[in-house]
Subunit: 447 residues, 2 copies
């Protein structure tokens, strides 16, 4: 069923427009520009051709099969378009148009009609009032802005902006996305069904979810529990404070419910909770490319003493263990590193560090069974460090890269890591948080 | 006294090198490239000319007055260079060279000799083992990387990397810096003396400080108290956990002391404490260009419902008040905004928001006396928004810009704000935190 949304064989954009800037134009253009290879049909009674594609007066006039309709017409026309979908045999509709339950009583009634029509016609509906879907793997960007970079992160979001931000950042940093889905008013398809689908999707390694509430909490938690067995779910939930709950009610009319109840259920089920869009992103990109640590012990390797201390504080506070290095290991490190290095944990390679010193340090530390992960802070220009980090990530242990203060040389190394789809964190605390999240999921799984 | 460090009339780089990549080359080059207009003298017995400048065998050979010596020679030669400083009448020396107390007993003895020589010769010493000074206002970058953007932020740091990161970010975002000072081992000049100097510096609007400890806590707090009367101090202190304290001892041998004692003293004196390099930066740039809010009441204006909720949660948790809007004000807003807007606090202009709608909303909200600040979240492409935000910042109330999910259009508006030296935060929580920090300082000042 969900396959019609993500891997449709034919797509119609109902309400396609010739006018740049209009959503009906931008969405059609993004589907084209993202490289969708199936058949694409603009629908608009007043145009013959849009963006080089033959345009049809109505869905019913399209001579070929259509799996998915992307609807951008004014709200009052949406129910009849959904009826057309039924007649044409289109089984999935994304309703981008706003003007439904989010606007008050009249809109609520319109949304009821839309849903009734959908049920009658056998059409599944995503939205209304949503920012669409982007399946980067299939080159189907029925959303905006245009995001093309393919990667292992999928996001389900009750906020179009949170979704767009995740997509923009993942593209900027080379991490890429698998699927982005905006829920909108979720009159039909909801987060639970999407979680189930993405849980089985082999192109999705981690699922990020922005939510304000859910209709059937028990069902949601049941599905989430199953998904978490196979891949991590990171949740950002709006409505933690009484005023936040009130705002959520105005936003998508969702019953935000008692936040404490959600919080406890998340913990029980093994869902990781974060509190900001940036944390959602930082956590998802950690899971996207790093193995899980088998235990809490972390070795911090740094060229910046101060950053090493800040990372130590953060790791310790986040439940990681900046483990004391055994004397034998210290001796080995002393033998293999220049005398100015401060051999302990954090291991301070000092301002004269080179990437080959990081290489030596990581080699010696990661073979040691009691060390489960490394937080690698590069606080100076360090040509060659990207290759060293990538090499040691193959150890099977997470090696979390943090880079700051390295000027131009840092930009070059960051770009190399982006090419390898590896994350880089810009501060010691953000790096420590990313590692803590990996550890949280690992320890939940091993229970 | 401190003036010799920041506004020297002549500068000598002792240990200047012809070899790119060497510190003695990079520092000299950065001083030239930053546009220092005073006389500059490379000192190296083995070269006639470096980077187009006449080179001298010794400080004593320089025929003109020198106020500041930047020393990059190997540690064992430093005491004799300091003695040369005394003979030549140089009153300030930045010792970049490492190999002193941070390396153990022998280095400790060398540092003692260095200090003894400095006292005897009447030379003040910054360092050793430090990343130098950058006075962007005077075009004097005796540090690295090269940072030229002038702005109102000054940073004192016991970590060269934290200092460099602050400089790099402030340059990237167009905010700019006033003075950056690396403390190193602080054998002589310390954070207290620098705080006092920067407290009086009219080009410094906010002081950021990374510290691990201080020798005379009472003196430090006394000076800080005086400075805070006039400008905010934001402190990032390493060594909050027992293992962090241990790491700090190894780093700069500083007595980290009981963190709790620091924490209480910071609060008493009105110092703002943060816990990550990024928070230090976010706080400093908030103070750099925004007025202080006269009270806790904030109006949140957003084009993204979800981000508005997340901001509401964050503001409420941080002690700000997402105040209920009086009915009269709501009526005015409804009259002046399209019907799809959700008129409450947060004010949701929805996905069809335009910059002129933000303009209208800010005009109506900011004249209202009970609203002390605005958090403005732009969650869509929004051409023209930078000018609107800049205009309303002149209201005398802080208007904190948050932008996310806006793709290419966002980049353009961000660049415009950077040109105007205004900060933009990339997530609702980071924006809320920046506003909370402004409020914290304002409420401390009004007590």
């Amino acid at each position: 069923m969900m396959k019609n949304f993500f891997e449709p064989l034919g797509v119609a954009v109902v309400g396609a427009s010739q006018k740049p800037g209009k959503l009906g134009h931008e969405v059609l253009k993004n589907i084209i520009d993202a490289g969708y290879e199936g058949k694409l049909f603009p629908i608009n009674p007043k145009a013959d051709e849009i963006l080089g594609l033959k345009c049809y007066r109505s869905l019913r006039d399209v001579p070929e099969p259509v799996d998915l309709a992307v609807i951008v017409v004014p709200a009052p026309s949406v129910p009849s378009v959904v009826s057309d979908c039924g007649a044409k045999g289109v089984r999935a509709a994304i309703v981008i148009s706003g003007g439904f339950s989010e606007t008050g009583e009249a809109g609520k009634e319109l949304e009821r009609q839309l849903l009734e029509e959908a049920k009658k016609s056998g059409v599944r509906v995503l939205g209304p009032n949503c920012q669409g879907i982007n399946n980067a793997i299939a080159g189907l960007c029925a959303s905006w802005p245009l995001v093309r970079a393919k990667g292992p992160i999928s996001i389900i979001s009750q906020s179009g902006t949170v979704l767009a931000a995740m997509g923009c950042w993942a593209e900027r940093d080379g991490i890429g996305i698998s699927k982005l889905v905006a829920l909108g008013n979720k009159c039909d398809v909801d987060e639970t069904e999407l979680l189930e689908y993405l849980g089985r999707d082999e192109n999705t390694k981690v699922i990020g979810l922005y939510m304000e509430g859910t209709r059937d909490g028990r069902k949601f938690m049941e599905v989430a529990k199953g998904v978490v067995e196979n891949k991590p779910i990171v949740v950002l939930k709006g409505g933690r404070t009484p005023k936040g709950v009130e705002a959520a009610k105005s936003h998508t009319r969702s019953l935000a419910g008692l936040d404490r109840v959600f919080d406890e259920a998340f913990k029980r089920v093994g869902i990781i909770r974060v509190h900001d869009v940036q944390e959602l992103y930082d956590s998802c990109r950690a899971f996207s490319s790093m193995p899980l640590p088998a235990g809490p012990n972390v070795a911090i390797i740094t060229s910046s003493g101060g950053s090493g201390i800040l990372a130590t504080d953060a790791c310790e506070e986040l439940g990681l263990n900046v483990v004391e290095l055994p004397e034998g290991l210290c001796a080995t490190l002393r033998e293999n590193l220049p005398p100015e290095c401060i051999v302990r944990n954090p291991l301070d390679l000092t301002g004269s560090a080179t990437s080959s010193m990081y290489d030596v340090a990581l080699s010696k530390l990661l073979v040691f069974e009691e060390i489960h992960s490394a937080l690698t802070i590069v606080g100076d220009p360090m040509p060659g460090i990207a290759d060293v980090l990538a090499k040691h990530l193959k150890s099977g242990k997470p090696v979390v890269p943090v880079m700051l203060g390295g000027g131009k040389a840092e930009e070059e190394e960051r770009a190399k890591l982006a090419d390898m789809k590896l994350p880089v964190y810009p501060s010691p605390v953000r790096g420590a948080k990313a590692l803590a999240v990996l550890r949280k999921y690992a320890s939940w799984k091993s229970v």
